[in-house]
């Protein structure tokens, strides 16, 4: 099977990789680019643990073929903190104990970031429906929703 050459930008850095036609973006992120922060938990777009932002759009990277990344900008959990400084969402998740096992956390943080970039002042209902594509089995979502709402308030103030 011949491989295809792809150039993309991941977390601001130019990357190049060779991929087979059936490889997903998630496969390439995890196996070829060593970015294992995006998690594979269902491979069917039902759990959101592999959420990344592709050219500004929130996607499940398990549903994107890696060849489709050609020329695109991809943001993953590994690029969310800026140097030493955590993104306010990351900080608030820690403060609120909004994670238990933590496997869904990268996907939820990416999804929440996409929400706040689009809607800086979401209602609780908006947060709940926006994050409905991200499964969490541990927390019951309470602390997650609170952390997102608190972050939104903090980011509006600053």
């Amino acid at each position: 099977m011949s491989k295809r050459h792809v150039s993309a930008v991941v977390n601001g850095d130019p990357v190049e990789f060779l991929c087979t036609p059936e490889q997903t973006l998630l496969d390439v992120l995890r196996d070829d680019l060593d970015l294992t922060g995006s998690k594979e938990c269902c491979s069917s777009g039902d759990c959101g643990a592999c959420s990344v932002i592709l050219d500004g759009r929130l996607v499940c990277s398990c549903l994107v073929l890696s060849a489709e990344a050609e020329g695109k900008r991809i943001e993953t959990i590994e690029g969310m903190a800026k140097g030493e400084e955590l993104h306010p969402l990351q900080r608030r998740f820690l403060e609120h104990a909004a994670l238990q096992c933590g496997i869904c956390t990268p996907g939820i943080l990416i999804a929440a970031k996409a929400l706040l970039e689009r809607e800086p002042d979401p209602s609780e209902t908006e947060v709940r429906f926006w994050l409905a594509g991200n499964l969490c089995r541990c927390t019951g979502y309470d602390k997650i929703v609170r952390a997102v709402l608190d972050t939104a308030a903090e980011m509006r103030r600053s």
């Binding site: 922060g37 269902c42 069917s44 039902d46 955590l86 496997i103 709940r128 994050l131 089995r137 979502y141």
Partner: protein, 766 residues
């Protein structure tokens, strides 16, 4: 599960760290994507392992031909039943469940028969995933397809297909002469049932059914095994108990335990489901054959098809009460599905069924039944949510019948210190009454309800367990502390351990780092399960810290040239005491650590314990639902969890356990179930069709932490992880019944069933 001593030392009133909500040691890595879970490890030369699974629910395996697959370039090893030695039938305790190696070896790799769709038949290690997949398609399995049986009630019929021709029901006297699918009958009883029911003014008897539900951990099972030519193995895996993995793998593969080092990776949820082995022995066997590292990761479909859900059940519950609200007698019959091999949690189901109540005359009979489903695994308070669901529904109906408030009715009959539980022991200090009082006084309980809404209440009980734990605490030269424990951290326990160590040592928690040590780096530690980690490993942590403190005091005594007995430890400092008091300025932990080399060498504290005195935890939940009259859809409007934690070491993570348990209970109550076709195949092996609650399905979940200290634990800890999943199903069922005026006695209460119940009720003039 032993008697809890009534007397005990009250925990210190003034705590500096225990009870605070600081950051967790592993938190940063988990919000930045750095934390490494089961599937995140790799090694040079690594092969990909894949499993061939039975497409049939029940089939004799006449032969397996691997020749074509073995000849495929890139295939480095294949294992089948021929690679595993048969094991004798032998039950050994494994946490809250019992395991039998005859069955484990067959569950890991089918032998005579495939007993469920998804049962492993062969495994392949190849240089790439695509070659491994192709190899699986080249393995020819000669199946003789047999009739199957899925439901336990059908499996109990005399004409049901037999899964195991040698199974004679245990616990029946005289023993049956013919084999059946009933593995075991058990009975727990007290008092005089007949006399008890004769005293009753009202008796209600109902039948209930529940479906198997999966633990639903998001992280699929994953491991990476590396075995060298000398047979020395390293195994990275996502597990609730790496020592238990070592025990099982050593047994199944005939290896000495010292040859297997198991490293617990970060674990992406378990809830009891990661207390057994599936891939691990296969990966070790493949690596042993190929002499290359082998990585295996399940797909979500494989997780649903072949790893343990909890039991589905059929139950009958009968309770009698006097007009004054006193329960006079109670009886239950519980039939639990074990899956393909015996060992459902019907035992704890029987023991827990009536545990929240003081009942003089009671009997519970349980049956453990096998059928062509994946073998059940532990799931949060295994067995209890099922039987207590049925009992709590009847309790609610009795309260309605008597015209009593359901909380008051429970208070009238509730278990308290001194109550003897049906399964034997007398309770020590317990919190059921406290949770009921808190429920009664909670604003939620008196808030007005809207149209089509109902409020339900239910209580729940779980034993909690103790067991073997080790802790090693090293005082580093700079005064920082490294704490090593052996219970994988599934929801913040490293933070709790750090808090307890800091509290005991009297130092800032920021200086304590907790690590999960591998099986070669610390003594045997039983798994994270039974709500035992914070209790048992917490106890070991405190003991290790105290051992270090004794060392620190001895070093101070040496420096001051006074007797060791004349030194006390206070607020992180050694201080001269008695007649030497104030003779020397106190020395801090950091000062003593810095001088350790000159006063006798490194300072550490170790503890190896078998923790006794686990404190049972009771909870009471309040839930408001709204039922859509047109569709039967149930919306959770408000939810409050009240539970006795003994002591909340990190209240944030205790609340998280309460909320998470309630959310899982909502799924169990309303949507989750295994759906089988007539062909015995699972029809909803994915998150789209096996619908777990998502964010938009739930409201905020309010919590109240009640603290009735467990006298056996230095800080009063009981363990909190399991009880929260016990009350939700009944609380929601009770709320629905009050919203629609009729009762559903079957889970899940999915929209079509609720709609049907409403229509039937209407047709009957309701």
């Amino acid at each position: 599960m032993n008697d809890i001593p009534l007397a005990g030392t009250a925990p210190k009133a003034e705590l500096k760290w225990v009870g605070t909500r600081g950051p967790r040691p592993d938190g940063l890595d988990k919000v930045t994507g750095r934390a490494r879970y089961g599937a995140d490890f790799r090694l040079p030369g690594m092969l990909v392992g894949r499993v061939l699974r039975s497409p049939h629910a029940h089939a004799r395996i006449r032969g397996i031909d691997i020749s074509k697959a073995a000849a495929l370039p890139g295939v480095k090893a294949i294992v089948t039943r021929d690679d595993f030695r048969d094991m004798p039938s032998e039950f050994v305790p494994a946490g809250e469940m019992m395991v039998n190696y005859r069955d484990i070896v067959r569950n890991v790799m089918a032998r005579e028969k495939a007993l469920y769709e998804g049962h492993p038949v062969a495994a392949v290690a190849a240089t790439s995933a695509s070659i491994a997949r192709e190899a699986l398609s080249l393995i020819k399995v000669d199946y003789e397809v047999l009739p199957h049986v899925i439901d336990a009630a059908e499996a109990m019929r005399a004409d049901a297909p037999l899964l195991d021709e040698t199974m004679i029901t245990a616990g029946v006297d005289p023993a049956p002469t013919k084999p059946s699918n009933v593995a075991k009958r058990m009975e727990f009883s007290t008092g005089d049932l007949k006399a008890g029911f004769a005293q009753a003014d009202f008796v209600i008897e109902r039948s209930f059914a529940t479906k198997p539900v999966h633990q639903g951990y998001l992280e699929p099972h994953a491991c990476l095994a590396s075995v060298n030519e000398a047979g020395q193995a390293e195994l990275w895996c996502t597990t609730q108990g790496h020592f238990v993995v070592r025990t099982h793998c050593a047994k199944l593969l005939d290896m000495e335990m010292s040859q297997i080092r198991v490293i617990a990776t970060e674990i992406g949820g378990g809830f009891g489901g990661k207390t057994v082995v599936y891939l691990e022995p296969l990966a070790l066997a493949l690596s042993s054959k190929s002499k290359r590292p082998v990585k295996m990761v399940m797909t979500r479909e494989e997780v649903f098809l072949s790893t343990g859900p909890t039991s589905g059940a059929h139950m009958k519950v009968k309770i009698g009460v006097r007009k004054d609200g006193k329960i006079t007698a109670a009886e239950a019959e519980l039939i639990y599905e074990a899956g393909a091999f015996q060992g459902s949690p019907v035992g704890p189901g029987c023991m827990c069924a009536f545990a929240p109540y003081e009942i003089e005359n009671a009997r519970v009979i349980g049956y453990d039944v096998i059928s062509n489903r994946p073998k059940v695994a532990a799931y949060r308070a295994p067995g209890a949510p099922i039987s207590e669901y049925a009992v709590e529904c009847v309790i609610d109906e009795l309260a309605q019948k008597l015209g009593l408030d359901p909380v008051e009715f429970r208070l009238k009959n509730g278990a308290k210190a001194g109550t003897r539980a049906l399964y034997g022991p007398k309770f020590g200090p317990i919190g059921l009454v406290a949770t009921l009082e808190a429920a009664k006084n909670h604003p939620h309980y008196s808030a007005p309800l809207g149209p089509n809404q109902g409020r339900g209440v239910a209580s729940g009980f779980w034993f909690n367990i103790g067991g073997e734990s080790c802790a090693s605490l090293h005082i580093n030269e700079d005064g920082s502390v490294t704490l090593m424990i052996g219970t994988p951290d599934i929801g913040g326990s490293r933070a709790s351990m750090a808090l307890m160590a800091a509290e005991t040592l009297g130092i800032d928690v920021a200086h304590v780092r907790t690590l999960i040590a591998d099986t070669d780096s610390i003594g045997y530690t039983f798994l994270t399960g039974g709500s035992r980690a914070t209790f048992a490993t917490g106890m070991a942590t405190v003991d290790a810290a105290k051992a270090a403190i004794r060392q620190l005091c001895a070093r101070a005594a040496k420096i001051w040239e006074i007797s060791e007995d004349a030194v006390v430890w206070e607020d992180g400092h050694a201080k001269p005491a008695g007649q030497n008091a104030a003779t020397f300025p106190p020395m801090s932990l950091a000062e003593l650590a810095g001088k350790a080399g000159k006063t006798g060498g490194p300072i550490s504290g170790h503890a190896e314990i078998n923790a006794q005195g686990a404190g049972p935890s009771f909870g009471t939940h309040i839930v408001d639902v709204e039922v859509d009259k047109e569709t039967g859809r149930v919306d959770i409007k408000r939810y409050t969890v009240i539970q006795d934690a003994g002591k909340a070491v990190h209240p944030g993570y205790v609340e998280g356990q309460f909320q998470g348990g309630a959310a899982q209970g909502v799924g169990w109550a309303l949507n989750e179930e295994y759906v089988y076709g007539a062909d015995g195949k699972l029809q909803n092996a994915g998150f789209l069709d096996y619908r777990m609650p998502v964010t938009s399905d739930l409201p905020m979940i309010d919590t109240v932490i009640v603290e009735i200290p467990n006298p056996a634990h230095p800080f009063g800890v009981r363990g909190v992880g399991e009880t929260p999943i016990v009350p939700p199903m009944a609380a929601i069922a009770n709320a629905i019944s009050r919203a629609i005026g009729t009762r559903l006695c079957e889970l899940p209460m999915s929209p079509p069933k609720v709609l049907k119940a409403m229509q039937a009720h209407k047709a009957n003039g309701g």
